[in-house]
Amino acid sequence: MAKLTDHMGRPIVAVTGIGVVTSLGIGKTDNWAALTSGKSGIHPITRFPVDHLNTRIAGTVDFLASSSKGASPLTYELAETAAQEAVAEAGLDSSDFGGPLFLASPPVELDWADRFSLYNSDKADSGAERLLRVARGLKEIDIFETTQFGSIADRLADHFGTRGLPITLSTACASGATAIQLGVEAIRRGECDRALSIGSDGSATAEALIRFSLLSALSTHNDVPEKASKPFSKDRDGFVLAEGSGALVLESLEAALARGATILGIMRGCGERADDFHRTRSKPDGSPAIAAVRAALADAGLGEDEIDYVNAHGTSTPENDKMEHLSLSTVFGERIGSMPISSNKSMIGHTLSAAGAVEAAFSLMTMREGVIPPTINYDNPDPAIVLDVVPNRKRDASVGTVLSNSFGFGGQNTCLVMAREPV
């Protein structure tokens, strides 16, 4: 008889379904094949003209029906596609999921294509006045729904038959991890037996790119796109904007075993800590990220020596990778030099709101497959960052536990600890 509660007496939370979409493809099979062969999904942008832009590459998802229809429709389709895979794998009814929905998605705004078309459908007055007048004459609410922050989750809730008020959240680049954390917590509190946690981001618009670019956050290595994302390298110069989605079906181990579900992994612990230092920079001593890692370990009931592999946030920005190294080496001490630590973002770019969920999906697959995906483009190691980044080639390894980091603007730090087996 398996133990059904954890070291704090809470229900153990299992993963029974995983779904993923990135620029590498739809679904786990294609993504895993690409990821373990060190293939990059980063490419020149074709969705919109790149005139005047310093960054002309991205990891956009260009192969879905909504890929050219705007951020809201694409974020929805990405979420639905990943969730469909996860729910199907879990063997649950995909129209009557029967648990709550937690969706990490980007903040929404009226798309420029709609702004232009509304504005130019009339000639009288100008600016906001004209937009408002045209808006109130609209006969359909499709455009309206793209501007409502709760609409994507509402549609997903309809589609999958999730229960109750769906929660849409943003903790910037940690959002995907927070969606999982909220699901884990709901199950641990006994509010539900299962939860659907999704991180989805289809917001790689020209304006999003320009905004990050103005903050000097993006790589401008446009010439060889697949080489642009180079976490932990000396010549890293920013992240690569990307899209994707990850979905997990979370279930109490007890409920999962009772219905004979296959256990794909265990969500052992979650930890978080906010940083009060600066809107985009971390506290120089790394204390919030350190506290988030330690909180996740404590929540998981694991010591520093019990983590086999770190799925790094590893964005390829000068700042993040330096700070992540500082916090990991503080927590893990000398052992850090011999622990495998790799960044999926070297291949898929930074999927922003989806990243924490996409990378949790890959972390779970790393344990199941016994293969660690590499950090590609690791040709010029940063001498200040001495890590085993699993450079350039995948590695076979028995991985029983993973720490996955997510750090975001606004001082967001969220860490997840996953395990292959129940205790």
């Binding site: 600016g127 906001a128 609209l138 943003s170 909220l182 641990r188 603007f409 967001q412």
Partner: protein
Amino acid sequence: MSASDVVISGIGLVSSLGEGPDAHWSKLTQPGLQPVLETARFAPYTIHPLPEIDWNLQISKRGDQRQMETWQRLGTYAAGLALDDAGIKGNDELCATMDMVVAAGGGERDEAVDATILAASESRNDRDVLLNEKLTTDLRPTLFLAQLSNLLAGNISIVHKVTGSSRTFMGEEGAGVAAVETAAARIRSGQSTHVLVGGAFQTEHSDMLLGYELAGYLHRDAWKPVWQRQGMQGGGVVTGSGGAFLVLEQRAHAISRGRRIYAELGPIVSGRARRRQGELAATIGALLDQAVKPNGKLLTLSGASGAHAATAAERSVLDAHPALATRGFSTMTGHMKEAQFPFAVALAALAVERKAAYPAFDAQAEKPFEGVPDSALATAIGYHQFEGVALVKAA
């Protein structure tokens, strides 16, 4: 009563009526109070504007103020009021262990830049190129941070040092409902001892009006109380700028700090009616039944937005309950979107603590309430989607 009850130990409010619980109580208990309205600036739309605010009182560094637009400032300010009220502000240990759930929409775009681009789009066919050209040169680089939804919470961490955890929920009124519900669940389960929860809405920006008007939700006729807009021009919603933050605390934790307790936060129930299938009234009825079995008159702080369908449905359900004496506070404050539910809970808590009800905000539609309310209901029925109800009880 139990040591692990969720209690309200701090309230921070800002609306057109003023700031703080005392100012709101004294205004809202004045019989015949007239709302503060701005009818010219956004005509044909009426709004309830922000009162005059000295930002320095809660955001002492000018540099911090400059990094925010009004929405983030307003939220950070209201959060500071709540922390002050709970005796937590400036207490490093309590702030560092405090959890936070913020209900947020988005921040303000640069209207001038947008207007320039739109004007130029009339004579250009290469609009995507135009966009790149203008946005790369005209946008202020840090404006992005003032627009990001989670940066209200980020600014609260920076300014007030609340760093235990930080989560931002999005989704109009539903985000406010889920934020309060999640914060309370954390306390009840022992995950948190004290949580800052709330939101803010800054309506004095054309995009914030556009967010409603793309579906024709805004009222365009002469101003009327929230229950009296059916059949008039427009969609019935009159918006207001404002913010509401609560400090929720485990009862034992608040008592050990020797703090005043406004009220206990009882059940919070939420829903997602499939409105196109006509479920809304039945869902509201079910939420009320889950939240409370009224024993005598029950004061009800309704966050009704004025949106015709949702407000009619809510009113039909509330009116059918003979025990409920409803106060539609949007009549006085306007609709504050993400802040609507925390605001409703705050007003309910104030009435319970002051042992008195608000007079009718609309004597035609609202029944008198005599006596002492030992509990009060708070509702937020979304103008478009999502619903929530909470019961607040005497401490």
